[in-house]
Symmetry: C2
Subunit: 336 residues, 2 copies
């Protein structure tokens, strides 16, 4: 078998590559009984005294490397701190390994590093260590940035993505599709005509406010595969279903317009500054208000609830119901 | 300026890229006063109660991906656990981010993953989390693997690479040049005629034995740029000099023969299973014996001592003295 673009696109095809080849060949998958590779969560944990160290890693290959609303530098830092954040841990530090193509200009490189520095400052994390490699120009296009985030949570406060309970409310912290559709519009050459931008932003402030209130059972950031993938993963890992209401899901007008032009479902594309959380019903309104008080959470909505069904069902604006399937792969390649 | 292969080759040119562009644009470089980006050590530390979390990251681009004695999978795990080890911390966990070229075969991919699994088992670390991306085949050759290692040390037991003291003895745990010369010989097509192999191996057992005895002031694994780079970095960071004796430095006969044919100095090429340590003189013999009792430390030697000079001086077998300079770059590209 040859590996295809879909194997890296965050959907079912990728899941099967991971289970078939990776999980079966790695014996040691966790430390001290923490969350490990087998859980396929957004990151891992190392329980340690009264605390848990939280780790998450991502290679960033986004194309183009500069796009409306951000660049590969900002995305690398933000994407990784967000993966630590949705585990319920405050991100503290980033390790940064870069592979640069021979002939890449130092001006573009510096622009990316500046952007990483700014993203670290905004997310209040330190870039503590790194590595730099160079590959021949016919062997690598531009740059690959692999970032690993480290955070610390008190024991018992780590939020897995497998702990939804029937009756939980589902909160979505803002509009969907912005990153994937902005990227695709820009690639297709009509990005300049709209003000459509990637939503790349750190999510910790929203999560911190929610955790202060309590009752947050499970979280995920809907990146590759969009909310269609995130909602299905949360539901299937927790062994529950969901009912979500289409008219509650915030989608920007420009995203709807561009999606239609591109023939892409905004529910299936990556977001880079949003969180989906399952929260106890009696805390839902209070958490929603807290999230709405933050910089990136103004458009947060309660979009549905957890059911004892086995599917994620979506009720359309017209009252019809359909199953919201997990996508086979993100319809926009090289999105992060 | 355009980035060249030398910018990723571990020598002085790389150091200047890092200082000029990276250090000047990143504001937050450490957490809680731990070792951070500014120290340019093998990794970073996050002080945390009675402990320090140790983190190190590397992107692996070795070419070819399968070579005598190992492959990119084994090298990724081992190289990263070794960087954690030389900070004085037992490696516990690895985060693994892979970027694969479209069209790469799943058979080769599985071979690499198996090798990573075996390397984790040997080094007694768990592979706890990961990420998989795919790039178009004209944009990436084969595979890039970025691994981040996490270890934990008791506070005060982290070993920096800047703490040599005048009078310390320098221990080298085995023969030099094996990895770089094996790789280059294989690339040049005469690798099959010798049994020259990469030395890629985990170094923790040797370090653990040395730390149990105490008196280890500074350590470094001589990868890119070889011992010429490692000895100079240790000396210049500690503000000291060294006197090392050429006839004490173990170099395999095949490495000498191949080096001469290739016109490459074995002191300047990467090793992947060796440690250079500066230890208190009165503990040196005991530490040496302890290292020699381990699987990978049988050929360990005391190769010299720390002086109050400003250079690393090498005394040749014939009694002449010369300055051992830090190389501008590793003479063998894409070595790790």
């Amino acid at each position: 078998m040859k590996i295809s673009m879909a194997h890296g696109a965050g959907g079912e095809i990728m899941q099967s590559l991971i289970s078939d080849i990776i999980l079966s060949n790695i014996k040691n998958k966790n430390v001290n009984g923490g969350i490990g590779l087998g859980e396929l969560d957004d990151g891992a944990t190392i329980p340690f005294g009264e605390y848990e160290i939280v780790i998450s890693t991502d290679s960033h290959t986004v194309d183009p490397i500069f796009f409306p609303g951000g660049d590969i530098g900002k995305l690398s830092i933000t994407g990784t701190v967000n993966d630590v954040s949705v585990m319920g841990a405050k991100p503290l530090a980033i390790a940064n390994a870069m592979v640069i193509s021979e002939g890449f200009t130092s001006e573009e490189f510096e622009k990316i590093i500046k952007s990483m520095g700014e993203a670290c400052t905004e997310a209040d994390v330190a870039l503590v260590t790194g590595d730099t490699k160079v590959m021949e120009k016919d062997k690598l296009d531009k740059i690959v940035i692999s970032t690993t985030g480290i955070g610390i949570a008190k024991k018992g406060e780590v939020t897995s993505d497998a702990s939804l309970e029937v009756g939980n409310k589902i909160i979505l912290t803002g509009s969907v599709g912005d990153h994937g559709i902005a990227l695709m519009s820009y690639r297709e050459g009509f990005g300049f005509e709209t003000d459509l931008k990637s939503d790349v932003a750190p999510v910790w402030e929203m999560i911190e406010k929610a955790l202060e209130i309590g009752g947050v059972n499970a979280m995920k950031d809907p990146t590759r595969g969009g909310i269609a993938n995130a909602l299905n993963e949360l539901a299937s890992k927790s062994g529950v279903g969901m009912m979500v209401y289409e008219d509650k899901i915030p989608v920007k007008e420009q995203v709807i317009a561009a999606s239609e032009m591109l023939g892409i479902d905004p529910y299936e594309v990556a977001n880079e500054g949003k969180v989906v959380m399952g929260v106890e019903a009696d805390k839902a309104e209070e958490i929603l208000e807290a999230i709405r008080s933050t910089k990136y959470g103004k458009d947060a909505q309660i979009i549905g609830e957890v059911t004892d069904d086995k599917h994620v069902i979506i009720e359309t604006s017209l009252g019809g119901k359909r199953i919201l399937e997990a996508p086979i792969a993100d319809p926009v390649p090289r999105v992060c």
